[in-house]
Every structure is written in structure tokens, then in C-alpha cells.
Subunit: 392 residues, 2 copies
């Protein structure tokens, strides 16, 4: 049990996974709210929308036509944040090589960023979400993620055997295949979903994005450094291995679990109903999941998203993302990676009142209003059938 | 000049002030936007609103009445995130002291957080903003900030003489005085403003917040560490001193300047029209500003907020915050502090379309769509009279 006193007092908690602190102020939810109310999400969507650039058979912004796909469909983002081909960039040097230029190159540092960005649909149906889909229907999504990850691994990757096994075990879905960048081995693959207008999603058709980049981004970089440090300092034990053990023993932050995955509101959660899905055994990346574990992972994703929708009886917005071994990495980086998925949902009090991470949070330190233990208790309690099933 | 190629290619830039990287994708703004549109901010506010808990003479949520104040009015937040008095907290130890408990105390770390949170109005008028106020009208705000900061400094603070000078030089405004926490010397004071519903502001009456805490928060902590490191490694030169020099020489990211302050879209800006206001000489904290510099600082704040409103002809939302020397600090921490103010505004394309820092940004790395040089050029060009003056 957590000290009960933490339910009542302001305190800071430490996030060992990324090495930073946050402020918890449990009594703050008592304050009245006169600020922005989110527009309730549209819920009368058609199953097929002729205007949607993701629906099967439709034309996209730059003229390509979508195939008549069944569930997943992957393509290179028409407006990619990084591209494979671009002009070369070598930071300018002042010919004079004087002191001022040294300061400038120190304070104005840039490096080129290349890569490929994909969009991947979860379903052919415009009006569905992961919460509406069964675990079995989510499996093709996980299989497509796995094949895409596997096909992007470096030739010398410590997980290349697992990748080869996945590629032979999971039958290819022709609409869900993408070709990795040709000229260059990329460093990291970030799979993420923005769901709901409140999280900047510009199309409700269920989909995620996959950005692969030539560099290791900040967040997975910080986590990998922390996990590697822990592994070195604790006789080869893993940070998330120990964390799973602690949370299973304590119980109060556990939302749900099966044999393969633990779903918790982490001790260090920033977002009100933030959730972490953690593999219970040492899975380094998607390619190490067995077919049984892919089902268990699908169940975990289903449980999280359905409980979210049930909590305030709404189409719950969130951003989610998978962290796993880099596409190109050292033996140690692969060894200290531990497969997990973050969910960051903004809603706080109801379907229309969200938590804003603004002034103090941006300038000083993240701050949350309810404890993760309170959030977990509420998510544990709303595991029933998806609320809108009975409304139909 | 920046290499022109950076206008066209994806690249990462380094933020030496907090030690992290971000992704810049200049071509991304070409993508169509079908997502959330911000509601245009209410603009027909009354000068006095009987329902507003900040207007002079009104009653607040917990029953206190506001004085009939003239410009600034400060009070302890009725729903403070941290408080002076709370139950004590000592992390629980398992009596058995076995190995599992060691892991738990390592992975579930908490520390108590105490302090005081204040609210400070900028004006008695409900319907004004910093952009509507003249520099002369902003001076009382800066004076109140200065007196509040000065009265919270530790007795042994390296800037105590400057603080004493400020307190004797700036006449007290009885409505703008607050008493520091009595039992404890606090460590840091974060002054910040959330403006506009899009930035979580729950009351349009012009005001900021001041949170003082027993610990040094993450962001100023990171900046202080980076500035201290730079100072040690560069023969006593300061990071922001050198940065001001570089930006004044380059010019392309400069929005505006006077003798005391430089206003730039920093090289490492994350938010589309992010701005940094930097003292040109080594000012460590508000108490070191001369009365002439307080006017210069007021002018800078006026220029930034007026240009923001002019850019999309709207009441431009933002979060802003001041970073300066901690309330309680070592000689070296005071010496390496350099007074500056951040502005983080979310709007990207128009009064109703914002940038969302969501999936990739939260899971991987901040990403921006226009370059800081492009943003600075646009802010340089909209310095005329406040657009709504001519509409009245
Ligand atoms: O204190 P306020 O204005 O009610 O609240 C606002 O600012 C706080 C500090 O940045 C945030 O924690 C809240 O989410 C936001 O709505
Ligand atoms: O790519 P989308 O869905 O158009 O855009 C959305 O996700 C991106 C990646 O998190 C963000 O950079 C955008 O701000 C957001 O609106």
C-alpha cells in the first residue's frame, strides 16, 4: 500500500524510466472549472466516408488511390515529417574561423534528419476504434506492426533471428507492407496513435502513424539510457522487470493483467488517466512476441481503450506509443530494451473537461491533480461491456 | 545567415539551454488540415464582470472579497497546488527490510512538496490584456513581481542587497503585497501566465500565477545546470550572453530589441511562434533591473504580446514564464542565472488552427512545422498598432 498520506498532500514523484520529477496535488480537483470545454466527439460517423482519405478505394490528397483493403493498409505519409531523399546539409563554417563563429556553431547546432513516415489503418471501417474492435480483430494490427518493424531492422541487429522468424510465421498482408528506406539503415521506429480531435487527430478513421528516423529521438533515448544504467547497476536486472514485480505485489496501481502483460497507472503518471502496458517477461521488441503473446497484447490494448471509453461514456481521446529496441543498435541497447506501450489521455473530470499541461507544466514541472492510485481504481471499475454497445 | 537549405530539409536542432533536441520539418505546413479548429476567443467582454472572481470588489469561491484595487492585486490561490502546511511525509520502510522493499523504495520515490501559490491581476479591467496595455501600464506589474520576488529571497541570498534596494526604491502597492511562507525558506519562484482558453486559462481577467516551492522544478533546474556547465567550460562567459551576441550578429531570428532586451524566436523554438526575451546585460533576477530597465522590459513584453495579437488578428493564446535566480541558492547558482522570459503560443496557421504537440512529440521528440527564421520574419512584420484599436 502507498502511504495513505499521499492522497492528501502535495508531493513530487520520480520517474525512473526517464529520470525526471513531477508534482502531484491531489486536492486540486476541488477547484471550480470555468475554462474550455471540449466539443463532444462526433459519434454518428458513417461506416464509409467518400471524403475520407483513408477509406478503402478513395483518392488521397496527392492523387494516389487506396486499395480495397480488408483491415490494415500502410502507405508512406503524403506529408512526411522526414523523407528519405533531401538536399545534403553540412553546417556552415565561417571561412575566417574566428572565435565568434565557434560560439555560433556551438549555440546554433543542427543535424540533418532523414527517414520515412507511414500511415497505417486499423480497420476498413471509418466509424470504428480500437475500443469497438475485439482482441481478435486487433491482432492483424499487431501483426502488421511486427512485420513492418521486422523488415526495417539492420542486417546485424541482435534480434535479426527473431525478426526472420516473425516474417516467416506471420503471413504477409499485401496492403500492410511497406518498403524500408533503401539508401540508409535507419535508427529508430516510433509507432504512435493520436486519437480524437483533442489530441490533434485530423481524421477519425482508425489509424496510427509510424515514423522511422536516422537518429534516436529524445524520449526513447532517455528511457534507453535509464534502463541501461539500471541494468549495469543492478547485476543484470531490468528496470521494468523490477517495476512489474513491485506493482504486482502492491496492486493499487494495477488496472488489469493477463499472463503476458501488466496494465498500470504508473507511479509517475503525468496525464490524469495515463496508462503503461508492460510485457511481463523480457520482450525487447515486437518480433519477440509469440503468437499467443500477440493475442495477450491485443487483449491489453482492448482493455485499455474500452475502459477509457467507458470511464466518461465518450470516445476517449489519447496519444499512445510503443517503445522497443531501436532498428539499429548495439548488443547492450537491444539487451536493455523492454517492450512497453504508453497511453497519454487528456481528459480529467468528464467527457468535456480536460487537463491542460500549460504554464507551470511547461515552464517549471509537470503537475497532476489526482493520484495514479485514484485513477487506477476508477479504471479497474469500468471494465464492463463497451458503453455504446447497449445504446445501439 | 542560416544555411538556406534548412528552410527546405528536415533537420534536428539542439537546445543548449535545456540540453535536448527537436525535429524541424519546414515542408509539413503544406498538408491539409481537417482537424480541430479552436473556438475564436470571446472578444465582447465587459470592463467589469460581476461573476468574475478577479474583478475588484467581487467575492471569491471561498468567500473572501477582493479589494477595490487599481491595477495589480495579489492573493494566495484558493486552490493552491502546493501549501505551506500539510501533514508530514516520511517514505514508508518495510520493517523486514528485505530486498523487495529496497526495489520498491527505489522505483516508487516520492518527496513532500510545500510552498505557496499566488494569483496576481495585471489590471482592474476585466476586458484588457497585456497587448492592450501600454508599456507604462505594464510597469506596475513588473514592480509587483519584483517586490514579491524580493520579499521571498533567503536571508543569505547573494542578491539580498539588490533585493533591499528594490524594496526601498519601488513604492509598495498595498493590494499587490503577499507574505512569504513563514516556517520555511522556499527554493524557487515560478511566475507564469496562461492566456486564452486554448492554454487552459479558466478566467479571461488579465492575471498571472506565481508558484513558490520547496524544491527546484525540473525546467529551471535543467537550464541552471546547462548554464552553470557553460560558465565553467567557457572561462566565465555566460550561455545567454554569448547567445545574445550571436543572434544580434545574425539578425534573422531577431523580432525586436531595445537597449536592455533582445526578443528572438530562438534557434531551438518548439512552439510555432515561440519567443524568448533575454536581458542583454547580466541581470540575474528581477531585483537587479534598474527602473529604466523595468520600462525596457515592459516595452519588450508589450511588443511581443501586441505582435502576437496582430499576427492572426486575434486574442493570441500563450503560456509565458520568467526564469531567474532561485529564491535560495549558492553563489554559483546566482552567478550563472540569466534573466529571461519564455512565450509558448500554440497557434500555427490562423486564429483557429493550432499546432498539437501530441503523439510523436510526446512519445519521441518535439517537432515543428515552420522554421524559427520564418516565424521571426512574420513577427517582425506585424509591429504596427494593435489591430483591434482601429476596429473600435
Ligand atoms: O490554475 P488554473 O488557471 O485554474 O489552471 C491552469 O493552470 C495550471 C498551471 O499551469 C494547470 O495545472 C491547469 O491544468 C490549467 O488549467
Ligand atoms: O500527422 P497528423 O495526424 O496530421 O498530425 C498530428 O500528429 C503529428 C505527430 O504527433 C503532430 O506533429 C501534429 O501536430 C498533429 O496534428
Amino acid at each position: 500500500m502507498t502511504d495513505k498520506v499521499l492522497d492528501d498532500i502535495s508531493h513530487r514523484r520520480y520517474n525512473p524510466l526517464n529520470g525526471s520529477w513531477l508534482l502531484v496535488s491531489p486536492h486540486r480537483t476541488k477547484r471550480p472549472w470555468q475554462g474550455q470545454q471540449e466539443a463532444p466527439a462526433l459519434n454518428k460517423l458513417p461506416e464509409y466516408d467518400p471524403q475520407c482519405y483513408l477509406c478503402p478505394g478513395n483518392k488521397r490528397a496527392q492523387g494516389d488511390s487506396n486499395p480495397h483493403y480488408k483491415n490494415t493498409f500502410a502507405f508512406v505519409n503524403d506529408y512526411s515529417a522526414v523523407k528519405e531523399e533531401q538536399q545534403e546539409y553540412h553546417p556552415q563554417k565561417d571561412a575566417a574561423g574566428d572565435g565568434d563563429d565557434d560560439i555560433a556553431s556551438l549555440l546554433l547546432q543542427a543535424q540533418p534528419a532523414t527517414g520515412r513516415c507511414y500511415v497505417l489503418t486499423f480497420s476498413a471501417k471509418h466509424d470504428t476504434t480500437l475500443a469497438d474492435m475485439s482482441a481478435t480483430e486487433i491482432i492483424p494490427v499487431i501483426e502488421t506492426w511486427t512485420r513492418i518493424y521486422a523488415s526495417h531492422l539492420s542486417a546485424s541487429h541482435p534480434l535479426r533471428d527473431a525478426a526472420a522468424r516473425s516474417l516467416s510465421e506471420i503471413p504477409p498482408n499485401p496492403d500492410g507492407e511497406v518498403e524500408p528506406a533503401k539508401k540508409q539503415q535507419l535508427r529508430y521506429m516510433q509507432i504512435f496513435e493520436n486519437k480524437g480531435a483533442a489530441m490533434g487527430c485530423s481524421n477519425p478513421h482508425p489509424h496510427c502513424q509510424i515514423w522511422t528516423t536516422s537518429t534516436l529521438p529524445e524520449e526513447p533515448g532517455k528511457e534507453l539510457a535509464q534502463m541501461t544504467k539500471y541494468h549495469r547497476e543492478h547485476k543484470g536486472r531490468h528496470l521494468l522487470e523490477d517495476y512489474v514485480k513491485v506493482e504486482m505485489a502492491k496492486g493499487e496501481r494495477v488496472v488489469w493483467q493477463n499472463d503476458g502483460f501488466l496494465v498500470v497507472c504508473p507511479w509517475w503518471a503525468i496525464w490524469p488517466f495515463e496508462v503503461l502496458v508492460i510485457a511481463k517477461r523480457h520482450v525487447r521488441a515486437l518480433v519477440e512476441l509469440t503468437s499467443e503473446e500477440r493475442l495477450q497484447f491485443a487483449e491489453a490494448v482492448q482493455e485499455v481503450t474500452r475502459r477509457y471509453d467507458n470511464l466518461f461514456e465518450t470516445n476517449f481521446p489519447y496519444s499512445s506509443g510503443i517503445h522497443q529496441a531501436p532498428l539499429d543498435c548495439t548488443e547492450e541497447e537491444a539487451e536493455t530494451s523492454w517492450f512497453h506501450m504508453h497511453f497519454y489521455p487528456p481528459l480529467l473530470r468528464s467527457a468535456t473537461v480536460r487537463k491542460f499541461l500549460v504554464g507551470y507544466e511547461l515552464m517549471a514541472e509537470p503537475q497532476r491533480d489526482i493520484t495514479p492510485e485514484q485513477a487506477a481504481a476508477r479504471l479497474r471499475d469500468c471494465g464492463g461491456e463497451l458503453y455504446r454497445k447497449s445504446l445501439q
